[in-house]
Amino acid sequence: MTSTEAKISVQHVTKTFSLGRETFTALDDVSLDIANHEFVTVVGPSGCGKSTLMNILAGLETPTAGRALVDGAPVSGPGPERGVIFQQYALFPWLTVRQNVEFGLRTTGVPKAERRARAEHFIELVGLERFADALPKTLSGGMRQRCAIARAYAVDPSILLMDEPFGALDALTRVKLQEQLLKTWSQDKRTVLFITHDVDEAVFLANRVVVMAARPGRVYDVIDVDPAIVRDEAFRLSPEFAALRNRVWHSVYHQEGRTAALSGSHSSPS
């Protein structure tokens, strides 16, 4: 796949932060292409720069070297075609569910009547219609994240960037929200980059699992998952799932042994 046809194209991106006198390399020469309508999950140990990668694509951070393209154009800041969902929900606590969902529509100047209607639609989609006028503090974690998802959907982005969105939720709520997310995605086919530290979640959701390694943050392995597979409970319990899960698991948690062996070949192409 060449970068011109990719929806998202990350090209040799390096990001370093200076902490006092030390320099920390969050991302080291990361390249990744994501096709239109693809659902890619990124999994890796903490410190592998997966959140930094997402922030660069969101336009909240700029790469030290290399470039990130969306629809062929370099990312120069946040844009309405990229919706972001944060792990900490990031709802405005002084606004009700409805006002939160309408926030992005107000900033982009959508007229009031349409704003109302669209907010209503997405609040219903995530099943919060009974809580439309409630403040975030009265909602549970799962409800808060559903509200954040409705807020991101409301501006109708073609790309969803999700940073460990279900990380703080209990297992059951997480599974429910995963299924809801896949259902919505199978209808509207947005392009999704989903960051997680949960191997099961990465395998269950993805067309492609990108495994990253830490110190420095880099792409370590890429595992394809047949997009034809129906993502349901049967898949979750199937030997196929278990095999994929094992493969990703080893890639994530047994990096140390292979890092030394890989480091020679890794540095030579660049």
Binding site: P78, G79, Q88, W94, T108, L135
Partner: protein, 293 residues
């Protein structure tokens, strides 16, 4: 710091009595849903009578102790003496005039102080350059008790209302500006990022994220500012005034008039408490969205 401690204690006590009534009809769903947090609040409302009863007992015991000490020969007026003096001062209008004079000073100084402190605090929090320019002065003047400015203010501005209002202004301003600045600096980065990815520019982020997010800090600053304005007022009146609660007490001291001094002290306490309650109510209304643990 004591004001802040008091604030959290107030919230613990008064939250249960507020919450059940505070839920408007539109939020009725909350109480029926098992997974919402407010559902368990009303169960605590049964205990609210106890702290109030304890407060009343404590006040009664304090007055009894005062009475006992006065009867035992300490140089104190007895409660009935103070009450009858209060009656006299109220009926001849002296108390009302003094209270009005004092309140006018404190409210003008406090309003000016807050009106200047909030924009300055925002500018300091938002623009690093302005912060660097303004902060040393604020930190320096913060270490000087406003009362220490009185001699200078009297010499520079005369003995009319200006120096008193200026000193009160300074007290309110210094308390509120630091708090506002802290509020702006402490705005959650994630919320600013969330607004940015939803298409908000700097002006929108300022008006719709930074201002509401720092409101709780501003209101705490205002309460601290009001407390220090009130404290400064009385001292300013002790030095140079023709009317006011502080002046009345200073005058009574010359005539060894202890009941009047007591009436003055109690009036100052009650008025300060009332003003603080009004701000507390405003704070509760404006920051109802806050999560409180």
């Amino acid at each position: 710091m004591s004001v802040l401690d008091k604030r959290s204690a107030d919230q613990r006590h008064s939250r249960p009595e507020k919450e059940p009534g505070a839920l408007p009809g539109s939020e009725a769903g909350d109480t029926t849903a098992g997974d919402t947090k407010s559902a368990r609040e009303p169960s605590r409302s049964g205990r609210r009578g106890l702290p109030l009863a304890l407060n009343a007992v404590s006040v009664a015991l304090g007055i009894a102790l005062w009475w006992a000490l006065a009867s035992a020969g300490f140089k104190l007026p007895t409660p009935p003496e103070v009450v009858s003096r209060a009656g006299t001062l109220i009926s001849d209008g002296t108390l009302a005039d003094d209270a009005l004079a004092s309140l006018t000073r404190v409210l003008i100084g406090f309003a000016l102080g807050t009106a200047v402190a909030v924009p300055v605090g925002f500018l300091m929090g938002w623009y690093g350059i302005l912060r660097g320019l303004i902060e040393p002065w604020i930190q320096f003047f913060r270490t000087i008790p406003p009362l220490a400015i009185i001699p200078l203010a009297v010499v520079a501005m005369g003995i009319d209302e200006t120096p008193k209002i200026f000193v009160i202004f300074l007290a309110a301003f210094l308390a509120c500006v630091i708090s506002t600045f802290q509020g702006v600096v402490n705005v959650d980065r994630t919320l600013i990022n969330a607004a940015r990815v939803l298409g908000a520019g700097d002006a929108t982020i300022f008006a719709r994220v930074v201002v509401p997010a720092s409101t709780p800090f501003i209101l705490v600053g205002m309460r601290v500012g009001l407390g220090s304005a009130w404290a400064t007022l009385v001292a300013a009146e002790l030095i140079a005034a023709q009317e006011g609660l502080g002046y009345r007490m200073q005058n009574a001291q010359l005539y060894y008039d202890l009941p009047t001094i007591f009436v003055g002290l109690i009036s100052i306490g009650i008025l300060g408490l009332l003003m603080d309650r009004v701000l507390l109510l405003a704070e509760r209304r404006l920051t109802r969205w806050q999560e409180r643990r």
